[in-house]
């Protein structure tokens, strides 16, 4: 390769990683639009969660077919990054298979395992494609996945297939060039899969095969850079965010809902017999948030926003949701997708308005998520249990219910009646508290 190639490669690399870094910065900024919540306690349990759930894929295999195939693609992704390192060094310095002389047999084993993984990945991705487009599994043809989310899933599969095919073609042409009389390339690597592809180059001139090799090599690396930058727009972002997301997930029992601190202060004041009921509210330096509950993404906490970016739209939550199974409008997956869409919209708004959010007369509540969806939730935690990366759609649903009830007094009539009963009688039904022990003497 001439120097021109190396310079071009360096420029591409810098551009690719540069765009990627700017996307990551945007994501971090958007996540930080959320309210603060402390998720730094118990690092040991958090690392364990991350190791088990994100790295170990323990929750993926609850559905074995998708789980095992997903692990194949995932391992393929991780391992191929080692190969990527070699490609980058080769590209920058004009070398060829730079690791080969240093690693010896290890190199052979590595290349062989990449090849086997590549073919397994192609197989897995094909099955995934068939599940989505052929068998049309219910959760993949759900109304949540119309338009881009549906195409997004397929684009990812096409991308992965093409990248793997290019990788194998690259190796096959390389192998061919190693074996031609005189050996254009030095011998390196073992090629259990691409040795069967190599014969297609027989009869072609060496110059042509070298050119083909270079084309495969370039398209492959450029493809990877493009794919990396596609993440920002795609559900595929989970390959990165699954790790922080499982680390920062709620460690409490699922039944424990947070007690709003701002409310605690008010209630304590109300119940304090020594408090002057006519006194002005004390000025608090750590002023409580201006509203109770959440109507827009800025009212959610940053973990909920991280959840939204991490969601891979697999729909396991929705397929486990009792409300969804009985035909109600609620879909936990849609809650997450709506949150992300709204967050992206708010982010764009900030970008176009030079760093400040200019109200756009829209909110997550109503414009994206309707009260009907929120009220259909039984808070049963099935969605939280199902999520392979520990997302909690339930926490968002609850925060939005809080807004409906405490800011807008917009609970369904029957719930208002229930709450009035609790206020007046200490029970959700209209019975007197004085009758609480009547059962003792009844037959």
């Amino acid at each position: 390769m001439s120097y021109l190639d190396n310079i071009l490669f360096a420029i591409l690399l810098i551009a690719g990683f540069g765009f990627f870094a700017s996307s990551v910065k945007k994501i971090i900024r958007n996540i930080k639009l959320g309210v603060d919540v402390d998720r730094k306690d118990n690092p040991k349990a958090r690392w364990a969660n991350m190791a088990l759930i994100a790295l170990g894929q323990s929750k993926m295999v609850k559905r074995p077919v998708a789980g095992v195939l997903h692990i194949v693609v995932y391992v393929g992704f991780i391992i191929i990054n080692i190969e990527l390192l070699e490609i980058i060094i080769d590209g920058l310095f004009g070398t060829h298979r730079i690791f080969a002389p240093y690693l010896g047999v290890v190199y052979d084993v590595l290349i062989a395992s990449f090849e086997i993984l590549a073919i397994l990945v192609i197989f897995a991705v094909t099955v995934f494609w068939i599940r989505r487009n052929g068998i049309r599994l219910k959760r993949f043809i759900h109304s949540d996945l119309k338009g881009f989310p549906k195409s997004d899933a397929n684009y990812i599969l096409y991308f992965e297939t093409v990248l793997m095919i290019l990788f194998l073609l690259m190796n096959a042409s390389d192998l061919h060039l190693q074996n031609v009389p005189g050996g254009v390339f030095h011998k390196a690597g073992t090629f259990p899969v691409s040795q069967f592809i190599a014969p297609i180059f027989n009869g072609l001139s060496n110059e042509l095969v070298v050119l083909l090799f270079e084309i495969f090599w370039w398209v492959h690396i450029v493809g990877i850079l493009v794919f990396m930058n596609y993440l920002y727009f795609s559900k595929h972002l989970h390959i990165l965010l699954a790790f922080p997301n499982t680390y920062f997930a709620d460690l409490n029992s699922k039944g424990k809902f947070d007690n709003l601190e701002s409310v605690t202060k008010e209630v304590k004041l109300m119940m304090d017999p020594n408090a002057d009921p006519f006194a002005a509210a004390p000025v608090d330096e750590n002023a409580a948030p201006g509203k109770f509950g959440a109507s827009d993404v800025q009212d959610l906490n940053w973990v909920q926003l991280l959840n939204a970016y991490t969601c891979t739209e697999c729909g396991r939550c929705t397929s486990a949701c009792p409300a969804n199974q009985t035909g109600k409008k609620l879909s936990p997956r849609k809650i997450m997708m709506d949150t992300r869409d709204r967050l992206q919209e708010v982010g764009k708004n900030i970008d176009t308005n030079k760093g400040v959010f200019v109200p756009d007369n829209k909110t997550l509540l109503n414009d994206y998520i309707t009260p009907e969806e929120l009220w259909a939730c039984t808070s049963c935690n099935a969605c939280v249990e199902e999520c392979p990366v520990n997302i909690s759609p339930l926490s968002i649903i609850m925060d939005m219910r809080r807004y409906l009830v405490m800011e807008q007094s917009a609970a369904p009539m029957s719930l208002n009646a229930m709450m009035t009963n609790i206020e007046n009688n200490g029970a959700p039904w209209q019975y007197s508290q004085q009758d609480r022990l009547n059962w003792k003497n009844e037959n």
């Binding site: 409490n252 029992s253 699922k254 039944g255 424990k256 809902f257 007690n259 709003l260 409310v263 605690t264 008010e266 209630v267 119940m271 109770f292 509950g293 009792p322 409300a323 199974q325 009985t326 035909g327 109600k328 409008k329 009907e372 009220w375 259909a376 939730c377 039984t378 808070s379 049963c380 935690n381 099935a382 939280v384 249990e385 609850m398 219910r401 809080r402 807004y403 409906l404 009830v405 405490m406 609970a411 369904p412 029957s414 719930l415 229930m418 709450m419 609790i422 200490g426 029970a427 959700p428 039904w429 019975y431 508290q433 004085q434 609480r436 022990l437 009547n438 059962w439 003792k440 009844e442």
Partner: protein, 263 residues
């Protein structure tokens, strides 16, 4: 059946200068709902027979605030919580047992931050501990050989990971315990949680309790066992909907244990 129940209140206990081993938190359903009152009484019958020293708050008990909290009314929840905590702390309550998973969850998980630290256990766990300590012996009695399936209440199971105690108790009855296709962590909600009990369901094509009852009927049980008064109501309604009242009963585990000894 008509044995009279001894139900001391915390106030009476205090007047006698006594502290019970355990405070029985009855809950609103257990106090007022006709079906759930039978569960309350069954549990008290067991406590009486095993001479467990217990007391109830009686008229001093109030809603834990669970339905208010799940509906989104954090204010009302915390008001209820603080009032209850004042009462409980005044009696220096240490150990609380309840037959309602919603009360159980709230008292156990959400009260501590508000100043209410108690050792809270579900009645199935408590009964299990009585058996383990040799204070309660259980035989199958009228249930021997019957096919029983257990419906995991969300706020007991997924929310607090209590899966084994209720199953252990059922197995003590010499019955055939059959699992539904969705059970334990994968259990399906009865449809009452999250304050749904108190409102109409949103439009859909089926009620959740009907779907859950179908799950249960699939394994053709004689009895569907529950550990929650709300699940009990929902599943009983589901059985009525399927017109299976004649064949299948919905019973709380406390009722199973109490009734097994009646014959």
């Amino acid at each position: 059946m008509s044995e009279s129940l001894v139900v001391p209140t915390m106030a009476e206990m205090l007047a006698e200068g006594k502290q019970p081993e355990v405070l029985f938190w009855v809950g609103c359903a257990g106090s007022f709902d006709d079906r759930a009152k039978k569960i309350t009484k069954a549990f008290v019958r067991i406590l009486n027979r095993t001479n467990v020293s217990f007391a109830v708050l009686g008229t001093e008990e109030s809603c834990t605030g669970d339905p208010a909290k799940r509906a989104g009314n954090e204010f009302l929840f915390q008001m209820q919580a603080m009032m209850n905590i004042e009462v409980l702390n005044a009696y220096e309550a240490k150990k609380i047992v309840t037959a309602c998973p919603h009360c159980f969850n709230t008292l156990k998980n959400e009260y501590p931050e508000l100043g209410g630290q108690y050792d809270v256990i579900h009645h199935t766990e408590f009964l299990k501990s009585l058996i383990d300590e040799g204070r309660l012996t259980v035989e199958g009695g009228q249930f021997k050989g019957k096919k029983i399936t257990f419906h995991d209440p969300c706020y007991l199971g997924r929310a607090n990971k209590v899966y084994e105690a209720p199953r252990d108790l059922i197995q003590k009855l010499d019955v055939e315990l059959v699992e539904m296709k969705r059970s334990k962590a994968n259990g399906l909600c009865c449809g009452a949680g999250g304050a749904q009990m108190f409102k109409d369901a949103e439009p859909g094509n089926k009620e959740v309790n009907v779907l859950r009852t179908e799950d249960a009927l699939e394994v053709q049980p004689d009895i569907i066992a529950a550990g929650c008064p709300f699940c009990n109501t929902m599943l009983t309604d589901g059985i009525k909907h399927q017109e299976k009242e004649g064949q299948v009963k919905v019973m709380d585990i406390a009722e199973l244990i109490a009734n097994a000894q009646d014959f």
